[in-house]
C-alpha cells in the first residue's frame, strides 16, 4: 500500500541500476492551501478557547526544525472543563439522539475530511515529517474511511451483539500518538461517537495541528457542543485526563511503558480501558516465497513512515538457503529509497519525527553494533537541517540483542536466519509483544499453519502494513488489549 502494492506482481530480477545520487527534479507539494494560525487554543464545548494557564509551546517541522505555530498547554482546570462539557453533551444531547442521527453526523465528518483532504495531508506532513505521498494516500483517506465505516454502525448496534442490549459508556478519554495523528484520532473518535459516547481527545504534543483542523470540521459539521473536545499539551495532560474521575472509558495508543502506567493508574477503578501499544513484529520469509515481492514487502514493512509504526516489521527471519540472496536484494532496494523533504512527492522516507526519537534511534544503532551485529546503510544524501536517519539493516543479529527484542520505532531492520519452520515460529514468538507478523511463502497450507501459530493480533500473509476500517487491529501480550476497527472495535465503547 505504500512503497509497493503487494498484489501487483513485481519482477525485479535484474539489479536496479538507479544511482542513489542520481538527481531528480523536486516535486514539492505546495503549502498554499494551508493557512497556519500564529497560535492555537483548545477545543472545548464546541468552541476554540485559550488554555486557562495561558502557556504555549512551539510545534516544529521536523524536516527543517522551523517553527510552525504555537500550541496551548492544557491545565488541570481545562481537563475538568472538557470532561464536564463532554458529560453535559452526553447526558443532555448525544445519548438521547436517535442513533440514525448520530450516524449522519459521522457521515458529515467523513465527507468534510474528504473535501479538505489536501489541507490535512500537507499539515500532517509539515507537522510530523511523514512523506506527503503517505499522508495523501494512506493517512487521510483511511481517516475518512473510518468515520464513514462507523457512521453506518450507529443505528445497527443490536445486530452486532446477539442477545444483548448495547449501551454507551459515557465520556471517553482518548490519548493518541504522533505517528499517525489524524488517523489515530479517527480510530478513536469514530467508534466512540457511533456507540453514543462523547469524547475528550488528547493528541500527541508534537502533532496537534490535524487534530485541531478536525475540531474545525466538527464545528462545520455542527455537532452538539461538547460531543468532541480536544485538549493539546504534553504527557501530564494525558495523565490528568485518563485519571479524571468524570471519565468512563480510557483508550490509549502509544508506548508499552505508558500503557502499563495507565493500567496501574486505573487499578482502583472499574473504568473500561483499551490499550494499543508497541510491537516487535517479525517477517518470516521462506525459500519458496516470490523473493522480489517479499523484499518489496519487507522494505514496505519496516521503512513505511520512517519505521515509526507500532506494527513495523522490524525483524526479518529469513530461511537460511535464501538469506544471501534476500539480503543482497534488500540492500539494492534500500539503495533506491529516497530520504529527504517530506513534502516532495518522490520521497520514500521522510524526517525522523523529533530530536528525541532521533536520539533513541542512534542509541539502538550503537547498541546493535556494540552487540556484534553488522550494520548496513545505503550511501544516500541527507538534508542539512532537520532529523534524518538512513534506512538501516543489521545482519548477524542474535535473539538476545536489544535490536531484536526492543521496539526501536525507527527505520531499522534486524535480520536473522532459520532452518526449520519450528525454529522460525520459536524465534518469531520469542517476544513480549504480539501485535503483528508477516509470512512470505507460496505454500497455502504453510500460510494457514503460521497464521495460527504466530502469537500476534494481525497476520499479514504475502502482504504487510495493510489497514482497513473493517479489519480489527490490536495485539496480544504486551502489545495491549482490545481491538480497533471492524465490528470488534465497537465493544470497547459499549456496555450491556
Amino acid at each position: 500500500m505504500s512503497l509497493a502494492n503487494s498484489n501487483i506482481e513485481t519482477n525485479l530480477t535484474m539489479k536496479p541500476t538507479l544511482d542513489p545520487n542520481w538527481p531528480s527534479s523536486p516535486a514539492l507539494e505546495s503549502r498554499d492551501s494551508v493557512r497556519l494560525a500564529k497560535s492555537y487554543g483548545l477545543f472545548v464545548n464546541g468552541e476554540f478557547t485559550p488554555s486557562s494557564g495561558n502557556r504555549k509551546y512551539w510545534t516544529i517541522n521536523p524536516a527543517n526544525e522551523q517553527r510552525l505555530s504555537r500550541i496551548s498547554e492544557s491545565t488541570a482546570g481545562d481537563v475538568d472543563r472538557a470532561v464536564q462539557a463532554a458529560r453535559n453533551c452526553y447526558e443532555k444531547q448525544w445519548s438521547r439522539l436517535r442513533p440514525a442521527e448520530r450516524g449522519k453526523y459521522l457521515y458529515r465528518i467523513a465527507r468534510l475530511i474528504q473535501e479538505r483532504s489536501r489541507e490535512f495531508a500537507i499539515l500532517e506532513t509539515l507537522d510530523g515529517g511523514k512523506p506527503i505521498r503517505e499522508s495523501r494516500e494512506i493517512d487521510i483517506p483511511l481517516a475518512a474511511a473510518h468515520f464513514f465505516y462507523y457512521a453506518g454502525w450507529a443505528d445497527k448496534l443490536p445486530y452486532a451483539f446477539p442477545n444483548r442490549k448495547p449501551q454507551p459508556l459515557g465520556v471517553a478519554a482518548q490519548v493518541i500518538p504522533w505517528n499517525f495523528p489524524l488517523l489515530m484520532a479517527a480510530w478513536k473518535i469514530a467508534p466512540a461517537l457511533a456507540c453514543g459516547n462523547t469524547v475528550v481527545l488528547k493528541p500527541a504534543e508534537t502533532t496537534s495541528l490535524t487534530a485541531l483542523l478536525l475540531a474545525e470540521i466538527i464545528q462545520q459539521a455542527d455537532l452538539p457542543p461538547g460531543a468532541v473536545n480536544i485538549l493539546t499539551g504534553h504527557g501530564p495532560v494525558g495523565q490528568a485526563l485518563v485519571e479524571h474521575p468524570g471519565v468512563d472509558k480510557v483508550a490509549f495508543t502509544g508506548s508499552t511503558r505508558v500503557g502499563k502506567s495507565i493500567q496501574r493508574a486505573l487499578a482502583a477503578t472499574d473504568r473500561r480501558c483499551t490499550l494499543e501499544l508497541g510491537g516487535k513484529a517479525a517477517h518470516l520469509l521462506f525459500a519458496d516465497a516470490p523473493i522480489d515481492q517479499a523484499v518489496e514487502g519487507v522494505v514496505n514493512g519496516i521503512y513505511f513512515n520512517q519505521g515509526h509504526v507500532c506494527c513495523a516489521g522490524s525483524r526479518l527471519l529469513v530461511e537460511e538457503s535464501v538469506s544471501d540472496e534476500v539480503i543482497e536484494k534488500l540492500k539494492q532496494r534500500m539503495g533506491t529509497l529516497r530520504v529527504g523533504e517530506p513534502l516532495d512527492k518522490n520521497t520514500d522516507i521522510g524526517a525522523i519525527h523529533s530530536r528525541q526519537q532521533w536520539n533513541t534511534i542512534q542509541q539502538y544503532l550503537e547498541s546493535g553494533q556494540a552487540d556484534g551485529a553488522t550494520m548496513y546503510q545505503p550511501d544516500c544524501p541527507l538534508p542539512k537541517s532537520g532529523f534524518w536517519s538512513r534506512p538501516t539493516l543489521f545482519t548477524g543479529v542474535s535473539q538476545s540483542n536489544r535490536i531484536s527484542q526492543e521496539e526501536i520505532f525507527g527505520p531499522v531492520l534486524a535480520v536473522q536466519t532459520f532452518r526449520t519452520v519450528a525454529e522460525a515460529i520459536g524465534k518469531a514468538n520469542n517476544t513480549r509483544y504480539g501485535l503483528s507478523a508477516g509470512v512470505w511463502t507460496t505454500k497455502g497450507s504453510r500460510v494457514l499453519n503460521l497464521a495460527a501459530q504466530l502469537k500476534a493480533g494481525v497476520i499479514w500473509a504475502n502482504s504487510y502494513n495493510q489497514f482497513d476500517p473493517a479489519s480489527p487491529f490490536g495485539g496480544y501480550g504486551e502489545s495491549g488489549f482490545g481491538r480497533e476497527g471492524g465490528l470488534h472495535g465497537l465493544s470497547a465503547y459499549l456496555t450491556y
Binding site: 498484489n7 496501574r264 487499578a267 500460510v447 497476520i459 500473509a461 473493517a470 479489519s471 487491529f473 471492524g486
Partner: protein
C-alpha cells in the same frame, strides 16, 4: 470434623467409625498436598470442615507450569473433541450428584439450595460443552476490506488463566468461569473458595476421572491475600478472572490490577449472580480470547474487485 449424612447403617447397635478424608490439591492431573506442609481449617457454624492445604507460592508456580505445559495441546484439539471432553465432565458430576449435594450442605447450604446448585452446575457443564464448537462461528468474521485481500478474524485462547473462584457458590461459581475459560482453549489454575473448599476438591476428583487432560484444570486451596501478588505478577499467566465484588476486601482487586499491569495481563472482575440464566453466555468465552486477524492478497487477473 463435620459429619456426613449417613443414609444407611449396617448395624444400628454398632455404628461404624467413618473414615475421614485428607483433602489435597489438584495439579497437573495429580493430587499433591502442599509442598509447604501448611494447612488451615475453615469452619462452618463453628465446626471445622477439615484440614485443607494452604497453597504456597511454590505450589502456585508448579500449577502454572502444569497449566502452561497443557495449554498448546488443549487449544490444538478440535472443537468437537473439546466439546465431548466437557460433556464427559457432566457425566462424571451426575454420578457424584449425591455427594456434591451432601458436601454443599456440610458447607452451610440448605438441602434445597444444595440440590439446586448441583443441578445448575451440571446443566452449566452441558451448556458450555455445546458452545465449544459454536462460539467461533458466532464471533468470527470475514471483513469486507476495500483492497484486494481476503481478510478474516477469529478468536484464539488468551493462554493460561488464573481464576479466583466465588467464595459463596463453591461449585456453581467455580464452574461458571472455568467452563467458558476451557471452552475457549485456555488452561486454568483455580483458587478454590477458601471458606468452602470441599466442592472444588470433589470436582477435581471428577475431572481426574473424566477425559480432561492433566494440567488443563488445576485447583489450589489457600488464601487469596497470601497468593495474590504472586499470581498477579507471574509472567506465564496471561489473564486473571477475579470473582469478587470489585471493591471488597481492602481493594484486593486494586492491588491485583496494579501488579498485573507489569505484564499487561487481562484482568476481568466478575460480581455476577451465577444462579441467573443470563449469566451463562458465550461472551464469557470471548473474555478469555484474543482476536486474530489474517490478511492475504487475492489474485487480480480474472476479476477486478476486492473479493469478499
Amino acid at each position: 470434623m463435620a459429619k456426613r449424612k449417613t443414609k444407611r447403617t449396617t448395624n444400628p447397635e454398632h455404628p461404624r467409625l467413618p473414615v475421614l478424608k485428607t483433602y489435597k490439591m489438584f495439579v497437573g492431573g495429580k493430587f499433591p498436598r502442599t509442598e509447604s506442609g501448611r494447612h488451615y481449617t475453615p469452619r462452618v457454624k463453628g465446626r471445622g470442615l477439615g484440614n485443607f492445604c494452604l497453597a504456597s507460592r511454590k505450589d502456585l508456580r508448579n500449577a502454572v507450569v502444569a497449566a502452561r505445559a497443557a495449554q498448546a495441546s488443549w487449544a490444538e484439539r478440535s472443537a468437537y473433541n473439546r466439546s465431548q471432553i466437557l460433556y464427559r465432565i457432566a457425566e462424571m458430576l451426575e454420578g457424584r450428584r449425591g455427594q456434591l449435594i451432601d458436601e454443599l450442605e456440610i458447607q452451610g447450604a440448605t438441602e434445597g439450595q444444595a440440590a439446586s446448585e448441583v443441578d445448575q452446575s451440571i446443566e452449566r457443564v452441558v451448556y458450555y460443552a455445546g458452545w465449544c464448537d459454536k462460539y467461533q462461528q458466532v464471533f468470527s468474521s470475514v471483513n469486507p476490506v476495500a483492497s484486494p485481500h481476503f481478510n478474516f478474524s477469529v478468536l484464539e485462547p488468551t493462554g493460561v488463566v488464573f481464576h479466583v473462584a466465588s467464595e459463596n457458590r463453591p461449585l456453581l461459581g467455580l464452574l461458571s468461569l472455568v467452563l467458558p475459560i476451557l471452552a475457549g482453549g485456555n488452561t486454568v489454575v483455580c483458587l478454590a473458595s477458601s471458606t468452602r473448599p470441599i466442592s472444588a476438591i470433589t470436582l477435581s476428583e471428577c475431572l481426574a476421572t473424566s477425559d480432561v487432560p492433566a494440567g488443563v484444570v488445576n485447583v489450589l486451596t489457600g488464601q487469596l491475600a497470601e497468593l495474590s501478588a504472586h499470581f498477579a505478577g507471574h509472567r506465564e499467566i496471561n489473564a486473571i478472572a477475579l470473582d469478587r465484588p470489585p471493591r471488597s476486601k481492602n481493594s484486593i482487586a486494586q492491588s491485583i490490577r496494579e501488579t498485573a499491569a507489569d505484564s499487561l495481563k487481562r484482568v476481568h472482575v466478575y460480581n455476577l449472580n451465577w444462579a441467573r440464566g443470563e449469566n451463562q453466555n458465550p461472551y464469557l468465552i470471548r473474555d478469555f480470547c484474543e482476536v486474530k486477524t489474517v490478511w492475504h492478497p487475492v489474485e487480480q487477473i480474472s476479476s477486478s474487485g476486492p473479493g469478499y
